[in-house]
Assembly symmetry: C2
Homo-oligomer: 341 residues x 2
DNA sequence: ATTTAGCACTCAAGATCCCAGAGTGCTAAC
DNA sequence: GTTAGCACTCTGGGATCTTGAGTGCTAAAT
C-alpha cells in the first residue's frame, strides 16, 4: 500500500510530533539523518500521505500533523520497540522487589510508577473476585442495635458492612448466625455467595431465627451490596501539562468524567485481553475524544483475567513507550498474583 | 473607624463582586436601591476606602474590587446571616434523616452536599480516634506465611493490615496470640494501644511466644502503622468553574497540592475549634493564595474535637452562605455522632 | 521517469494602531 | 457636605500590516 519512503516520512512525522507537539514541515524532515532526499520530494510524499488520510494540515500552509488514522497505522504496524531507561527499569524493580503482601498497596504503587514514568494519568482496575472464595465471616455487635459484618476472602481482601440489628435479635442469635454462616459459606466462591444464600442457607436460617425475614434481608444487604472492584488513579494532574490541554473546558469535562468511577471501571473492564489502544474518536466517551487510552490486562496464571491497567494521555502519546511499559507492568502483576497462590 | 456610609459602600462592592467577579464602578453602586447619594459622593468614599486598604483598583481607571483586608473586615464585622434556600435545606434534611449507620458513608455524603450546594470544593477530615476504644482484634491466616489482622473500634471503624507470619509460628500460636490480645487490649483506647503493647502485653507475649522478637515487631507494624484519619473531598472540578481560575497553571499547582493528603489533613487538623476563615495570603500554602479556606470542627458532645469540615473556593467566596452552611453541617455531624454513643 | 530547485502563494501569529466605553479624579457650583 | 461637569486614563476588541514558515506547482536536472 504505502511505499517504503512514505512509511519513513510518516514515522518521522509521528515521532517528531509526539516530541514537539508542533506541525512538521518538509524542511525539518529533510534535516533528519535518515532522510536522503530533498524537501520537494518530501512534499510530494506528504501530499500522497495526506490524500490517503494518514496526516493532516492544521491550515493550508502549515506543516503536517498525524491524523488518528496515522496513529492507528503507526501503532498497528510501525512502532519500534522502546527501550526504557535504566532509571525507569530500576524504579520498576524496586516497586516489585519488596516483600509485598497487600495487593492494594502493590496496585497503588504500580499506578504511581506508571504515571511517574510516563507523565500521563494511570488508571488501574483492581483484581476481580473470580476464583476468590470466602475465608471467614465475622459479625461484631457495636451496640444493641448496630453491628458490623466483616468478610475476608481467600486473597486477603477485607470487606466490612455496617447494619442495623433487628430489635428482636439477641446476642445469642447473632452467634448462632455466625456459626451457620461460617459453616455453610466458608470456601464458597464469592460469585456463588448470593446463590448459596438463596438456597440452603435460607432454609437453615428459617429454622434458627425467630424472624427469618428481617435477618435474611439485612444479610443480603450486608453481603452483596456493592461490588468490591476498586479503581486506582494516579497522576491526574499530569494531563494538564500537555499543551493540547491548555483549554480549561476540555480539562473540566475530562476531569468530570474521570470522577465517574463506575464509567471508567466499566471501560477498563470491557477492554478485552492483552494490550488495547483506543485513539481519539475510537473512545466511546465524548469527553475523551482528544485522548488515547491504552489498556493491558493482568491475569491469574495467564488465563483468568483479573484486572486492567491503563494509561490515559493525549492522542499525541508516546505509544511505543507506553505499550512497552504496560506490557512489563501487567506481566509483573500477573507474576506476583500467581506467586501468591 | 469607618463611617456608616463607607461601610454601606464596602458591603455593596463586596456583595456585588462576589456575584459578578467584575470590578464595580460608582455608577453601578448608585443604582442600588439602598444607595441614596450620587456617584460623585461614592467616588469620594471609594477613594477613602482605597486609601484605608479595603478595596483596590485593577488599573487606574477601573472600578473597585475588594482587597483581602476588605474581605477580612467583611467576614469579621459586616456579614449578614444567609438564608439557605428551601431546596438546600431539604437536601440537608434528606442526607441526615436516613437511618445511617456508617460514618464513612455519612461523611462522604456530607462532602457531596457541601460541594453541591456551594459549587466549591469540599474537604472533610474524618473523625479522630480520641475516645474510641478497641472492640475486637481478629487474626485470620491466609496461607502458611501470611495473615491479616482486623481491628474493630467501638465506633465501628474497621482497619485491616496484612503481615508476614514468622515461619516458626504455628497456627496454635496464632490462636493463643489472638486470645492474649483480646484479653488485654479490648476496651483500651486506641491512643493507648502502643503504650499497652509496650507494657504488660509484651511481657505476656514473652512467656507464650517462642520467638518474642519477631512476633512483637510484626504486631507493632500491624497495629500502629498508619494513622487511620481519612480525608474526603468532593467537587474538585468546581474550582475550574470560577473565572479567576482560567489559568491552567494556577489550577495545576492547586490540584497538585490538593493531592497531598497529608498536607491538607494537617491544615484541617490544626485549624482550631469552631469556624475559621483563611483568606488568600493568610493561607500557609503558596498554592492557595488565590483561595479562601473556611473550616468548621465537629465535636463529640460539644467538647472533644472529632474532625473538620471545610470548603475551598476563590477569595471571592460567598462567605456568608458558606459559613452558615458549615455551621449547620458541623452541628448535624456533632449531633449524629453524639446520638451514636 | 524521478528528483530537485525555484517561485508564487497562503495563512497564522504577533505587532501596531485605533476607537469606544467605562470609570476615575478634580474643580466648581449647589 | 454633596453633586454636576469635564478632562483624562486605561482596557478590550477590531482592523490592518508584516513576517516567516510552509505549501503546491512548474520546469529543469539527473
Amino acid at each position: 500500500m504505502l511505499t517504503e519512503r512514505q512509511i519513513l516520512v510518516l514515522v518521522v512525522i509521528i515521532d517528531e510530533f509526539i516530541q514537539t507537539a508542533q506541525p512538521i514541515g518538509s524542511r525539518a524532515i529533510a534535516k533528519k539523518a535518515e532522510i536522503t532526499f530533498s524537501p520537494a520530494t518530501i512534499r510530494n510524499e506528504m501530499a500522497d500521505l495526506e490524500e490517503l488520510g494518514y496526516i493532516e494540515k492544521t491550515h493550508t500552509s502549515s506543516g503536517r500533523v498525524p491524523s488518528e488514522k496515522g496513529y492507528r497505522f503507526y501503532v498497528d504496524h510501525l512502532m519500534s520497540p522502546f527501550r526504557l531507561s535504566k532509571q525507569d527499569m530500576l524504579t520498576i524493580q524496586q516497586t516489585f522487589q519488596k516483600e509485598m503482601i497487600e495487593f492494594e498497596l502493590l496496585v497503588q504503587k504500580s499506578a504511581r510508577v506508571l504515571s511517574d514514568i510516563t507523565n500521563y494519568t494511570s488508571i488501574i482496575l483492581g483484581p476481580e473476585v473470580f476464583e476468590t472464595t470466602l475465608k471467614q465471616i465475622q459479625i461484631i455487635s457495636l451496640s444493641d442495635h448496630t453491628a458490623v459484618a466483616i468478610l475476608v476472602t481467600s486473597t486477603g481482601h477485607v470487606e466490612h458492612r455496617h447494619f442495623n440489628v433487628p430489635p428482636t435479635m439477641q446476642t445469642s442469635d447473632l452467634e448462632k448466625l455466625i456459626n451457620i454462616l461460617n459453616d455453610r459459606l466458608v470456601g464458597v466462591p464469592i460469585v456463588q455467595l448470593q446463590q448459596k444464600l438463596y438456597g440452603e442457607v435460607s432454609q437453615l436460617l428459617q429454622r434458627y431465627s425467630s424472624d427469618f425475614q428481617t435477618t435474611y434481608s439485612f444479610l443480603k444487604d450486608a453481603l452483596l451490596d456493592k461490588q468490591p472492584v476498586k479503581l486506582y488513579m494516579d497522576g491526574k494532574t499530569n494531563i494538564m501539562l500537555q499543551p493540547e490541554f491548555n483549554d480549561i473546558h476540555k480539562i473540566q469535562s475530562l476531569y468530570t468524567v474521570m470522577e465517574k468511577e463506575d464509567k471508567m471501571a466499566n471501560i477498563l473492564r470491557t477492554s478485552g485481553k492483552g494490550i488495547k489502544v483506543s485513539i481519539g474518536q475510537e473512545n466511546e466517551l465524548d469527553e475523551m475524544q482528544d485522548c488515547s487510552l491504552i489498556t493491558a490486562t493482568y491475569t491469574l496464571g495467564g488465563e483468568k483475567q483479573l484486572g486492567t491497567i491503563a494509561l490515559l494521555g493525549p492522542t499525541r502519546m508516546e505509544y511505543s513507550k507506553v505499550v512497552t511499559l504496560l506490557n512489563i507492568l501487567s506481566q509483573r502483576l500477573t507474576d506476583t498474583f500467581h506467586s501468591w497462590r
